[in-house]
């Protein structure tokens, strides 16, 4: 089980701020996870249809899409940042 947390328009399109999911066998990297999520429904597909722009953090630290999920407990998924 991992907790996924969504922000900004990723959160709005998926329609929830967070959820717990089972990571299926075969989902190893961040990229695998994003592709898996896109199979869960059209709201996910709408949020993640351009995965190359999506940013991901594991345990609140930025990671590349090639990173292994390992035993991640909290995975943040969000658009490029626009603070400051």
């Amino acid at each position: 089980m991992a907790k996924l947390v969504y922000f900004a328009w990723v959160r709005e399109r998926i329609g929830k701020a967070e959820e717990e999911i089972d990571i299926p066998a075969g989902v190893v990297t961040v990229r695998d996870l994003l592709n898996h999520l896109r199979t869960l429904g059209e709201e996910y597909e709408h949020a993640l249809q351009y995965p190359e722009v999506i940013r991901v953090a594991i345990e609140q630290e930025h990671v590349d899409h090639s990173e292994a999920l390992g035993n991640a407990r909290e995975i943040g998924i969000f658009p490029p940042m626009t603070g400051g």
Binding site: F78, P80, M81, T82
Partner: protein
């Protein structure tokens, strides 16, 4: 060499610039330069009624703290404060504050500038614009210019 610890806060309420400067400088005689950066909400020629700032609680503060520590080490700063607000912010109001102190002027300028460049592209905040007409509410797009601004430090 021991480096000072940056003062980092993520908060809904406004910040108090003179208070934050005093916290870094009071009683010290080794500071030659204080540079402050305040980022404000613009109304985009009257089109914008407010900004809404969303953030990733915990990570937002941790990320700014990481950037602040990098700046202190890289520019040998004597002190650094960064405060970023979240929630609804009206035109003319403050969004973000960075203060850098150092013995000499260029390090203080560079330290504050560096923190802003990295904060823009790395700190997990997102701006949504509320239009004056009440209808359109759009997320601000990330700017290539911000990525380029960060690259100047590499």
């Amino acid at each position: 060499m021991d480096h000072p610890t940056p003062t980092i806060r993520v908060q809904a309420e406004d910040f108090d610039l003179p208070f934050e400067i005093a916290a870094l400088t009071a009683g010290r005689h080794d500071i030659g330069a204080v540079v402050t950066f305040s980022g404000l909400c613009r109304d985009e020629q009257g089109a914008l009624s407010a900004l809404e700032l969303e953030h990733y609680p915990g990570m937002a503060e941790a990320e700014i703290r990481r950037i602040g520590a990098l700046a202190i080490e890289r520019f040998s700063l004597l002190g650094l404060t960064a405060v970023h607000r979240y929630g609804k912010i009206m035109p003319g109001e403050n969004i973000v504050l960075v203060i850098a102190t150092s013995p000499h002027r260029q390090a203080a300028f560079d330290g504050a500038n560096f923190v802003m460049d990295f904060l823009k592209t790395s700190a997990p905040f997102w701006k949504k614009e509320h239009a004056v007409d009440g209808a359109a509410r759009d997320w601000v797009s990330a700017k290539d210019a911000d990525d380029q601004a960060q690259e100047k430090w590499q």
